[in-house]
């Protein structure tokens, strides 16, 4: 597939231009997904930036982002295509005796996200979000799409993408994805950013937060993730937290303020208690 990047480093730098700070492995993964024209399967902790990378790529490449949010019970009529039954019925009943109406044609077809993405081809970034939430029957629908970038609609035939769209799949591992699906994708496990990268993310995403505070937040979040919480905070939460701290008007982080604003960062009562107990360890008190 043609794409304007010559190296992962360049892609990483350009992603930075649209406010997404990728690490080297993720830059490599997206570079290869673009270059090889393969779907990219991203797994990883909640809030590690899996969904955001698709948005950033769409913005960077100037393509439309077509998002399919998966849920239990999703099927072809919601994900792929559906027929316009009302119009079909009217057409059948309105047709005169001699020429029977052909109602299974393109004009009666409603495109759903997957078909839209195929029709848009390389003008789209297709994000299939939280695939693990769909039941495993649904995965089978995706196999043809992911390997050939085509779907077969029984009444019409095969619809193939003019050029393969960039496909990003994300999963939170609430269920094991089938290996047939994994085999068709490039795979990358997304980790939480380290303190330095998180600091840079904070600078980009929450520019109003003073630099010193952002640095302290990044360091504190890093230590909090190390506590072994049930739900470690994601990047979004640390951005929220930095914003919250800025909102209450403090310049440097202290254990008291950190404890008071914890609701923006840790969203589970057990985890909050654990952090509150160890607050002096994770947030150094200011002299």
């Amino acid at each position: 597939m043609q794409h304007p990047f010559t190296s992962p480093a360049e892609l990483k730098q350009r992603l930075g231009g649209v406010s997404y700070l990728a690490d080297d492995p993720l830059a490599m993964a997206t570079f290869l997904a673009l270059g090889l024209g393969r779907p990219l399967l991203l797994e990883g902790a909640n809030g590690a930036g899996k969904t955001e990378i698709a948005k950033a790529l769409a913005a960077l490449l100037g393509r439309d982002l077509i998002r399919l949010q998966c849920y239990e019970g999703i099927d072809t009529s919601q994900a792929l295509y559906d027929w316009h039954y009302g119009r079909q019925l009217l057409a059948v009943r309105g047709s005169d005796e001699r020429e029977a109406a052909e109602v299974f044609t393109r004009e009666y077809l409603l495109s759903r996200p997957l078909l839209q993405a195929l029709e848009a081809g390389d003008r789209a970034v297709l994000l299939i979000d939280e695939l693990d939430r769909a039941d495993d029957e649904f995965e089978a629908f995706l196999l043809e799409l992911l390997s050939d970038f085509a779907v077969t609609i029984p009444e019409i035939g095969r619809v193939a993408a003019p050029a393969p769209p960039l496909v990003v799949l994300t999963s939170n591992r609430t269920r094991d994805l089938h290996s047939a699906l994994r085999r068709r994708c490039l795979y990358h496990w997304v980790v939480h950013p380290d303190a330095e990268r998180e600091f840079q993310i904070l600078r980009v995403r929450a520019p109003h937060v003073p630099e010193e505070l952002a640095r302290q937040v990044a360091a504190a979040v890093q230590r909090i993730r190390g506590l072994g919480l049930g739900n470690p905070p994601g990047v979004g939460e640390s951005i929220d937290w930095a914003g919250a701290l800025h909102l209450v008007g403090i310049a440097t982080l202290s254990p008291e303020v950190a404890g008071a604003t914890l609701s923006a960062l840790v969203k589970d009562i057990d985890d909050q208690q654990l952090v509150a107990e160890r607050i002096d360890d994770v947030v150094p008190s200011t002299p």
């Binding site: 993964a29 290869l32 090889l36 009217l90 980790v191």
Partner: protein, 412 residues
């Protein structure tokens, strides 16, 4: 960072072959993708080869350690020759062995004579009665075979929950519009019949967490037989063993006959007959699978004597978290088979408040009780007491249990 390296097609193939020997299921397609990936990159450094290869050649996080080891083995000598001994720094991800069977290649073990014999074992009702109340630990080899055959006949009906996927059905609350259109085409668009759709119920998964420490041996084996039978009946079953740590053995059980699977597991689970870190194991289950279908909304059966080397709070907290996520939590403690038993072991006492059903699980009669406890109340054939066996066994004598009927059929 490092000098550019030359990676030929042959290198790619050989590296892929090495990974294949290490247990990664790689197709030629992936090898080609690896080769093309390296061609996309300008001035390939070893660092790039590492990350590109990992993206293309692995498809699960659990494979990362295997990949790392193979990569170092394969490329580092070459790197040393180039004078650039910089093995790429992998981002440390905490990986845990997902399946017990990853290490070993499936050896063609002849199906144990046990299995066939067990099926053909002639079981007369009087013998079944004796077997049912005999503790698994007190059985000899012959009795265990027969007991295993009986366990296979338990087949409880697992509870169901409402599904979300709509499928065409004879009756149902939703209109099948697609079917309606099809059905009305022959009648010029006049719908004569209204096809329906409904959401079939889905079975809740069953998860067995089996303590394989020393004293639990015979009971663990019996429950593994049960898990194996349920798995091969097509139920959604996950089986974990716990001892020093948690091991997922579902795939190993899926492969073969029960006895061959048990032998394989005995090889793969290194803490078989060791001490128990029960609290740590349950905590690991919650941390790794808390959001997974194996725990969330599942029926979880823990089988352990509750003798734990961890501090009791660890187990108590972990059980509390497990109980919140699971649909129903059953604890089998073989020690409870003794009527004098009181749950005084500190771990057991900490866990009990979070357990829905507490049973012995030391003999077949108790397994029948477990099966009845798994079935939701409205599906139950014979009703137990109001709170099924919570801290107290409801009735030790399961006179007309299913085993009896089914075994009678088979013996006839």
């Amino acid at each position: 960072m490092s000098e550019p390296v030359e990676v030929t097609g042959r290198t790619c193939v050989e590296f892929a072959a090495l990974l294949r020997r290490r247990g990664l299921a790689l197709g030629a397609e992936q090898t080609m993708a690896f080769y093309s990936a390296l061609h996309l990159l300008d001035r390939v450094r070893l660092y790039d080869v590492y990350w590109a290869g990992r993206v293309v050649l692995t498809n699960q996080r659990e494979q990362y350690p295997i990949y790392d080891a193979a990569f170092t083995e394969f490329f580092s000598p070459a790197a040393a020759d180039d004078g650039a001994p910089t093995p790429p720094r992998a981002v440390p991800v905490s990986t845990v062995p997902r399946d017990a069977e990853t290490a070993g290649t499936p050896s063609a073990q002849p199906a144990g004579p046990d299995d066939e014999q067990a099926d053909r074992a002639r079981l007369v009702p009087s013998e079944i009665q004796l077997l049912k109340t005999k503790s698994f630990a007190a059985m000899d080899a012959d009795e265990r075979r027969k007991a295993a055959a009986l366990i296979r006949r338990l087949r409880p009906e697992l509870p169901r929950r409402r599904g979300r996927r709509r499928t065409p059905a004879a009756t149902g609350p939703f209109l099948d519009v697609r079917g309606l259109l099809r059905a009305s085409l022959p009648t010029d668009g006049e719908p004569m019949r209204l096809p329906r759709r409904r959401t079939p119920a889905r079975e809740r998964p069953l998860t067995l967490v089996i303590d394989v420490s020393g004293s639990m041996g015979p009971y663990a084996r019996a429950l593994l037989h049960f898990g194996h039978a349920m798995l091969h009946d097509g139920h959604r079953v996950e089986v974990f063993t716990c001892g020093v740590h948690l091991t997922r053995i579902t795939e190993a059980l899926r492969r073969t006959s029960a006895d061959a699977a048990l032998r394989r597991i005995a090889g793969a689970v290194d803490d078989w007959d060791g001490g128990t870190l029960l609290g740590t194991s349950v905590r690991e289950l919650v941390d790794r699978f808390g959001g997974h279908t194996a725990v969330r909304g599942a029926q979880v059966v823990v089988c352990s004597d509750g003798l734990d080397r961890d501090a009791p709070e660890v187990l108590g907290d972990a059980m509390c978290a497990l109980h919140r996520r699971a649909h129903r939590l059953v604890w089998l403690n073989p020690l409870k088979g003794d009527p004098r038993y009181r749950p005084l072991a500190r771990g057991m006492a900490a866990a009990l408040p979070h357990v829905d059903v507490f049973l012995a699980g030391h003999n077949l009669a108790s397994f029948e009780q477990m099966c009845r406890a798994l079935v939701p109340r409205r599906q139950r054939h014979d009703v137990l007491t109001e709170d099924p066996g919570r801290f107290e066994e409801s009735s030790a004598a399961a006179g007309d249990g299913w085993l009896h009927e089914r075994a009678g059929d088979a013996a006839g």
